[in-house]
């Protein structure tokens, strides 16, 4: 199913973790009308803690395979151990489920046909209703792989849901980092909002994620959270963003209300809509939605 022609998908990312992606996305959820919410941080999904979704539909996420040796049939010839590049097979011919890459080379070459290759259930996907609108979220099993594929599936369901409801906006909470799950989160998006903080680390990580957005030709916007913890670093980051042609959407002050709101399972807009932080977030949202 393809989305509406004018369907817009905004992804909030950061490179560095803990800059406030989820708190900010929660605030946007309070401000935006007629949208689908999507939590693409499947490895450490937190948006549900604020929005308390009522789960309407759940499905298993099955992806990839894992080798299992049938000891009855195994003659311990050792070919599998020789071929396995991931050192996943022990001298006792047991497959370590964490090391097994699911490449199937051992399964293919075992002369005794002694290796099974069952499909794995790596996580769960949920379609829910929240007080801020419908939400698609997921949970990757602990120590599971294929997070990128679960991200892609989560976004696909969000698009279908938006089309079904006739909504033209999807707000997506992205994962930290730069590799597989982040790439799966931003590929083909309308725009990304990069949330950074005024630290050398925040600047360094933003730099890399800006390059990533550029690599995939996705328009990027920038905002600085907790800007007053180091105002001169904030200036440096904003100047850098402008140099790179990235529109700066605004700055948010450090405010313990964000944490207090989270503890109360509320967005900052719901918790204290007149606070400086909430006003800053509203300004960012208005500029962002008119830029998209």
């Amino acid at each position: 199913m393809s989305g509406k022609a004018n369907l817009k998908e905004l992804i909030v990312i950061s490179g560095k973790g803990g800059t406030g992606k989820t708190s900010l996305l929660g605030a946007f959820a309070s401000l935006a009308k007629d949208k689908v919410l999507c939590d693409a941080d499947v490895d450490a999904a937190d948006l549900y803690l604020i929005l308390e979704p009522e789960i309407k539909e759940r499905q298993d996420f099955q992806e990839g395979h894992r080798a299992v040796i049938d000891r009855e049939k195994c003659t311990e010839c050792g070919l599998c151990r020789e071929l396995c590049r991931f050192h996943a097979i022990s001298p006792e011919f047991k497959v370590d489920p964490i090391d097994c890459e699911g490449c199937g080379v051992c399964v293919y070459f075992c002369p005794e046909d002694a290796i099974d290759f069952p499909i794995k259930t790596c996580g769960e996907l949920f379609i829910s209703e929240t007080r801020c609108g419908p939400m698609v979220h997921a949970r990757l099993g602990i120590a599971e792989d294929n997070s990128g594929k679960l991200v892609t599936l989560t976004r696909k369901h969000a698009k279908e849901l938006a089309t079904e409801r006739g909504f033209d906006l999807i707000l997506t909470d992205g994962p930290p980092g730069l590799a597989c799950p982040v790439i799966a989160s931003i590929a083909g998006a309308t725009g990304v909002l990069i949330v950074t903080e005024p630290t050398l680390s925040g600047h360094h990580d933003m730099d890399r994620v800006v390059e990533l957005a550029h690599h995939f030709e996705i328009p990027a916007y920038v905002c600085v959270n907790k800007f007053d913890l180091n105002p001169s670093m904030t200036d440096t980051i904003e100047a850098y963003a402008q140099d790179r042609g990235l529109p700066v959407m605004g700055r948010i002050p450090f405010d313990p209300s964000f944490t207090e709101a989270m503890v109360q399972k509320q967005t900052i807009i719901e918790y204290d809509g007149s606070s400086n932080a909430a006003r800053a977030v509203k300004g960012i949202w208005e500029r962002l939605i008119s830029s998209l």
């Binding site: 803990g18 490449c103 005024p198 050398l200 180091n230 944490t259």
Partner: protein, 280 residues
């Protein structure tokens, strides 16, 4: 001994703990930054880099003059990284997991492996502290092979400190696997607690002794402490929120150098961890 530092949630202070612990205990310490997607330790350590190495992954190359288009390579590949279309075999290197199956299965010996660069590994030192990290090239999907390169620099006779990326999936597992103790850094908020539970689940699967550090311990609520008590996980250290600490961090400076009280605290942290490792 190998101590790894992890957290489900990002931005809780892994880098702060890893860099300060390493500097407090230097020399005879090796700090390895396994967050190859967003490495930050070097900002605080400012090492002199003495070794640089391009890290690559083996990917297939098909010699079409030998290929009989039998399609076995496509059949064995679980990652859709090699496909026979019409009169040619196409490879998609960014999807390749480097398992070598296609090379092994090809009856015509038409497939060889070439190197595909995915990142850069660097090592060096500062004031006797040895340092290693890697940087994934932007646009590259797989972090694990690069993390393994960083971990290959572990020196078993020394104290090794490994800074892991956030989360609980493959890059984190690969970073903390085979370490003797995991420090889980969290913050006392609902997000912090939720992601801490996931991280504890992960270290339990890996069966590694672990303890908790609560950062910005006076913001939020007391639920992380309650959880740690219920689960019998030791709380190793609490770091209160302070603008001074936040500013020190923001400038890429170390607590143990700017606020000398912290040096003792980090040395004590290490003594405590040694005790836990000995008892386990």
């Amino acid at each position: 001994m190998i101590i790894s530092i992890a957290s489900g949630k990002g931005g809780t202070g892994k880098t702060t703990i890893a860099t300060n612990l390493a500097v407090a205990l230097a020399p005879d310490v090796k700090l390895l930054d396994c967050d190859v997607e967003e490495p930050n330790d070097h900002i605080f350590i400012r090492p002199e880099i003495t070794h640089t190495e391009r890290v690559s992954l083996k990917v297939p190359q098909v010699d079409m003059s030998k290929c009989s288009l039998c399609g076995r390579c496509q059949e064995i590949c679980q990652f859709q990284a090699i496909v026979v279309v019409g009169k040619t075999a196409l490879t998609f290197h960014e999807l390749c997991h480097s398992c070598g199956g296609c090379v092994e299965v090809c009856p015509e010996d038409a497939i060889t492996e070439i190197d595909r660069e995915m990142g850069i590994f660097e090592s060096g030192s500062r004031n006797g502290l040895e340092f290693g990290h890697a940087r994934l090239f932007v646009g590259q999907v797989m972090a694990v092979p690069l993390i393994e390169r960083v971990k290959a620099d572990v020196e078993p006779d020394k104290l090794n400190i490994i800074d892991a990326p956030p989360g609980t999936s493959c890059p984190v597992i690969s970073s903390v696997k085979n370490t003797d103790f995991v420090i889980l850094v969290t913050e006392p908020t609902p997000f912090g607690l939720n992601d801490l539970r996931l991280a504890v689940g992960m270290v339990k699967i890996l069966n590694i002794p672990h303890g908790i550090i609560i950062n910005r311990s006076d913001l939020g609520d007391r639920k992380v402490e309650e959880y740690a008590n219920e689960e019998n996980i030791p709380i190793l250290m609490e770091i209160p929120f302070s603008r001074q600490i936040a500013e020190t961090y923001s400038q890429g400076k170390l607590l143990v150098e700017e606020l000398p009280d912290w040096r003792e605290k980090f040395i004590h942290l290490y003594e405590e961890i040694k005790d836990y490792v000995r008892k386990s």
